[in-house]
């Protein structure tokens, strides 16, 4: 009896060991989840990286930064893409659920652009004007120097990091106007502004095709600054921000390889291709 027990135990241990040992020889899976702003960027990174590293499979999903952070808390993704810094409560809940500190990795720079329809004559605004428009204090284009027409507000749903960033940095944590229309993704915002002559929207600079990304002035005294790479990197453009990756615990193994690659010249070149801005000096120093 005892002998048989031992054999069974050994067999079980061997089986377990075999099943554990098997995956590394097969494909490595990495999940990237979160920000819709960073969805294209993540997909391009994954494509290029998988071409050079055939042993690694990267799955990229959007849904919004909030979705990604929720997934990191629940442990359904290894890397969370976020277009806003994580809040302390969120870091705490990752620590509580996953028993690991959050690692924050800035991976790219974005200029949050304010989009107008191409037919709109306005090409610059102050931060104060944008705030008043999105809070519903200004409801007609003529009050900011345009034609007499009602302003139609578009933006992102409240799961979006861009929404939260905009609310914090432009609205100073105030509320959006009642008539603000939240849409499911940045592409939908662009589409709405293209279709609506009186529309205004916001989103990552990487998406700003067929719409006008206006220049923004910090206040009435300073001049308007266009959302270009130099202005975003030098922080002259008032709505520039970092895009982040988050992991539970410090990245190791395959994930560390990916993180290093993304921060290196190849990864940062992809950032430029997609329309975002590479981290300051990253391409020269590494």
């Amino acid at each position: 009896m005892n002998q048989r027990h031992r054999i069974v135990t050994i067999a079980a241990v061997l089986l377990l060991a075999a099943s554990c040992a098997a995956p590394p020889s097969e494909k490595q899976n990495i999940n990237l989840k979160g920000s819709d702003t960073m969805l294209q960027l993540g997909q391009r990174w994954a494509e290029v990286y998988m071409k050079d590293h055939p042993g690694v499979t990267i799955q990229v999903t959007g849904g919004g930064s909030g979705t990604g952070i929720a997934a990191l808390v629940n442990g359904t993704t290894q890397i969370c893409q976020s277009s806003r810094p994580m809040k302390d409560e969120e870091k705490a809940s990752v620590k509580q659920q996953r028993q690991a500190e959050v690692t924050e990795i800035p991976v790219a720079v974005d200029a949050l652009a304010v989009y107008l329809n191409r037919q709109n004559p306005i090409d610059h605004m102050t931060m104060e004007q944008i705030r008043r428009i999105f809070q519903g204090e200004i409801t007609n284009w003529k009050d900011v120097g345009g034609p007499s027409a009602g302003i139609v507000l578009y933006g992102r749903e409240n799961n979006s990091g861009t929404y939260v960033f905009f609310k914090e940095h432009v609205l100073a944590n105030g509320d959006f106007a009642e008539r603000y229309q939240p849409l499911g993704g940045t592409a939908a915002v662009i589409n709405a502004v293209i279709k609506d002559v009186n529309g205004i929207g916001y989103g990552g600079i990487g998406y700003a095709t067929d719409v006008k990304a206006i220049s923004v002035a910090k206040d009435a005294a300073s001049g308007p600054v266009p959302p270009t790479m130099e202005n975003a990197l030098s922080n002259k453009y008032p709505l520039s921000r970092f895009l982040y990756w988050y992991t539970a615990g410090s990245p190791a193994g395959t994930i560390k390889g990916l993180v290093d690659w993304v921060l290196g010249p190849q990864g940062q070149n992809v950032v430029k291709d997609v329309g975002f801005y590479p981290l300051k000096g990253a391409s020269e120093s590494q």
Partner: protein, 321 residues
């Protein structure tokens, strides 16, 4: 029933085999049991869904989760902005939005559906009727996401050009989209109700000298009214819970206004667009389940009131049930 009759037919002429018939009775009983079990399972599933939804919202009732209590959805300001420095969870804009869109859909959809049903049941030549009914029923088979997408991309622009709407997507555009979902349902059920009115009624009316139109409107329509009323209740339930069309076509702004020309956000669309993103078990998550409970209660009340009224209507028309 069918089984028993066939037993009798088979048994005739042959020597009766008691074992066989006993077996058949048993099968019959089993069939009866099986059918009623299925019916009860359906009820049980609905009940369990409600229990689950309510259970997810329940912790709000006895403690605050992330600063949110069961009263948060009913506190001022009347604003739904669940993410931000001070989250605001007032449910009133969503309830108003839901009813506004549903009402518009019913106002636009039911007259059309009823007129079409009356036409096919009473006036259309039989050859045409055989075409119209399946065609309208095909309309019911169009996935709501397709209808919503059509409104979002095409119809909303037409409407804006035609009526000069300030907002491209608004309660009217969503209501028209919803009407596409309501019309086939109301049409089919009320058409069935009209055709099941006994022929005797029509013959009696015509024999008394009434015209075809008089017969249809003064005799057949009242006789079918309980069924038509049931169709309206079903249509209302469909419209109020419909998610995909309103999610795409309503603009989703949580406005508190009675104007039909501003964007609206409905209860169902709010749950759909926000539930995927919230932290599991957090306050926002629980409030979204509470919205589900509210929606469930609204539809239950409507169905219950509808059923009661329907019974009264039937009693008044046909005497004791």
């Amino acid at each position: 029933m069918l089984n028993r009759t066939s037993t009798r037919v088979c048994g005739r002429g042959r020597t009766p085999r008691p074992r066989q018939s006993e077996f058949r009775i048993r099968i019959d009983r089993f069939g009866e049991f099986f059918i009623s079990a299925v019916a009860f399972i359906a009820i049980a599933i609905i009940f369990l869904i409600f229990i689950y939804v309510a259970r997810e919202a329940a912790p709000l009732a006895w403690r605050t989760v992330d600063g949110i209590s069961i009263w948060s959805p009913f506190q001022t300001p009347y604003m739904w902005q669940p993410v931000g420095g001070i989250p605001k969870f007032n449910v009133l804009p969503l309830v108003v939005g839901t009813f506004k869109v549903t009402l518009i859909a019913m106002l636009l959809g039911t007259p059309l559906a009823l007129a079409a049903a009356l036409y096919t049941a009473e006036f259309a030549p039989p050859s045409l009727r055989e075409w119209i009914k399946p065609a309208v029923e095909v309309l019911a088979g169009i996935p709501s996401v397709v209808v919503g997408f059509f409104v979002l991309i095409v119809l909303a622009s037409w409407l804006q050009d035609a009526f000069n709407f300030e907002f491209r997507l608004n309660a009217v555009s969503a209501g028209i989209g919803l009407a596409f979902a309501v019309i086939p349902l109301v049409y089919t059920v009320s058409e069935d109700a009209l055709t099941s009115v006994p022929k005797l009624y029509r013959e009696a009316s015509l024999a008394l000298g009434a015209s075809k139109a008089q017969t249809a409107i003064r005799v057949v329509l009242p006789a079918a009214s309980p069924g038509i009323f049931a169709a309206l209740v079903l249509g209302f339930g469909r419209a109020i819970g419909e998610t995909m069309i309103v999610l795409l076509a309503s603009g989703n702004a949580s406005t508190l206004s009675l104007s039909p020309f501003v964007p609206v956000r409905t209860l169902s669309a709010t749950v759909a667009s926000e539930l995927g993103e919230v932290v599991f078990g957090g306050g926002h998550y629980r409030v979204l389940f509470l919205l589900g409970v509210i929606l469930f209660i609204i539809t239950s009340i409507v169905n219950w009131v509808g059923a009661r009224y329907n019974r009264r209507l039937r009693q008044r028309l046909f005497g004791a049930t």
